[in-house]
């Protein structure tokens, strides 16, 4: 029984079958990559997992509980955090505030009316926030406005915001999309570090084969809304079906 069990998911948009009978099992303590050519249904699948889309049929079980019909904030409270293709951060807030907010969400739940307490008195939260900023090497930027960060730093910040909640599953939607080579390498290293130190289960949706093969322990190949094959990276590399699906897109 995996941490995340997806069974028989179907999703239609009008005449388009975006997902057709998708089965997927993500084991605890692995990095699982979901790859596939454009339009394979990767993003649709991700949106189903985080509660943004409701599938027409099928079930999604996380840690023994169904996630279907739950709102994104409820799914996050269950232990699933998401990193977006373009970093979603609180641009108008300082870096420090950005990481404090998930700490509050973790401690106090989806809503708590703490309108009189001062932020400055929240020592425990501040220590957590400081610690995670140290982990991602952003301590000296803690008072900067998040909008003034470089793209790579925004990605690091978003990652820190997810990690500080200590999620059971971290979903990454093309974490290196549009990044320069050096930034891509940095992100790979950061993810490897996180994986090694925290043992967080990760699901990565990615285009870049270099990223996929340097991180993934299991790979699911999606094509036209259906899983084509699921295996270890080594076996995927030479798989004829994968070559077929990717023909002309990348040399695997």
């Amino acid at each position: 029984m995996g941490l995340l069990e997806v069974k028989g998911i179907n999703k239609r948009f009008g005449g388009l079958q975006a997902l057709g009978d998708v089965n997927l099992s993500i084991e605890e303590n692995t990095t699982h990559a979901i790859i596939g050519p454009n339009g394979a249904g990767k993003s649709t699948l991700l949106n189903v997992l985080v509660g943004k889309l409701i599938p027409d049929s099928g079930s999604v079980m996380f840690d023994g509980q169904s996630v279907l019909g739950r709102k994104p904030h409820e799914i996050n409270q269950m232990g699933i955090s998401r990193v977006f293709q373009t970093p979603e951060i609180f641009s108008d807030l300082s870096v420090f505030e950005n990481v404090m907010i998930p700490c509050f969400a973790k401690r106090d739940g989806a809503f708590r009316m703490h309108a009189i307490e001062s932020i400055f008195a929240e020592r425990g939260i501040q220590e957590q926030a400081d610690a995670i900023l140290a982990d991602v090497n952003m301590v000296e930027k803690k008072d900067m406005l998040a909008s003034s960060l470089s793209r790579g730093d925004k990605r690091r910040l978003e990652m820190a915001m997810c990690l500080v909640q200590d999620p059971k599953l971290l979903l990454l939607d093309e974490p290196t999309a549009g990044m320069a080579r050096a930034d891509t390498e940095n992100t790979i290293n950061l993810l490897k570090e996180i994986r090694a130190q925290r043992g967080i289960t990760m699901a990565i949706i990615e285009h870049d084969m270099n990223v996929v093969f340097s991180l993934a322990e299991r790979i699911t190949v999606l094509a036209q809304g259906t899983p084509l094959v699921e295996d270890t990276p080594d076996n995927i590399k030479g798989h004829p079906k994968v070559r077929e699906a990717y023909l002309g897109e990348a040399q695997v």
Binding site: N76, E97, I101, I119, F120, M161
Partner: protein, 399 residues
Amino acid sequence: MLGLEMKDFRLLLIVIGLTMLAPFILNPFPEGSEMAQFNAGYPDLMQRFVIFGIFAIGFNILFGLTGYLSFGHAAFLGAGSYGAVWMFKLLSMNVLPAIAISVIIAGLFSLLIGFISLRRSGIYFSILTLAFAQMSFALAYSVLTPITGGETGLQLALDDPRIFGASQTATGNIPVPSLFGLEMRSSYELEMGSWLFTFNVGYYLAALFMIIAFYMSIRIFRSPFGMMLRAIKSNQTRMSYTGLNARPYTLAAFVISGMYAGLAGGLMASMDPLAGAERMQWTASGEVVLMTILGGAGTLIGPVLGAGMIKYFENIFSKINETILHGWFAFLPDGLENLVVAMVYPFIGKGWHLTLGIVFMLVVIFLPGGLVQGGQKIAGLFRRKKAEDAKPNATEPAE
């Protein structure tokens, strides 16, 4: 200090100082002098400064922090006023129960309207609040006449069945609102040379409430709750993917700001015990939006400054008439005098809206952060000058 950081505590002290000394500060010109018409230190206007200050402080908690622009906050102010007048009619002429009920009624009313309106955001939210406020106005004006007094407004009468206190005074008049016998309208006048300062009970009560309201707003701004509200304004997607439910946060902010509006309405009725439907009209809702933006939305002190500025324009600029203008420009040759007066005239008296409009446009274009940003820029200039002045001194010893 009082759970505040030093910087905020200093700001609070400044506000306390300014409100307590307002009768002096607002009356800088001696009585009878030509400039006396610019004096704003009379009770009626001072009361309005602080009451609208409260209204704007509350509005800023919603608009300044969450970015949800409500166009119907006057409805809560109106509801508060009606509630307070009813307390005067039925219970007692003491202002405290009246103010308490106005806050409670406005809170419940805003809970209902907020619950429905907050299902949408952006312009749709604004339109929903506007629609609710206009409905309230129309209801108060017509259908609900037994409760609201309709066109004439809700007033005290000689036969009010007041439980604690008499329906009439010994002389057969309607009693006036008071705080345990201390009448709101009573004033102490202090004459110093040709200056006249008025200390009004109603003003000081309202000022005390404004200080408390301002203190509460600082606490909210610096609380985790306030940070969540700013997070909502910044990125709602990240908010929900961080496990936070934005709806109860925005609703709480909406109700808090509605209660501030109710407090303002209750104080208004305490100063002058009548309430009319026009207090709920959309122009009144628009006014508090202007106050907040003019002063600086999202800043602590901005809304108070904006409220003060608009009320000053409304009451002082509108008093200047053609005769006064002729007096000012009498030193010019006749033809020129008439020309200048004709040119200035549209901007004063009944034309004060034009002046306010121009000021508002200038602020929005050049100081999007409002008067507070203007103040910061000026302070910044001074600081730079100081630094430049200090520099040669600092290098001197080395020479």
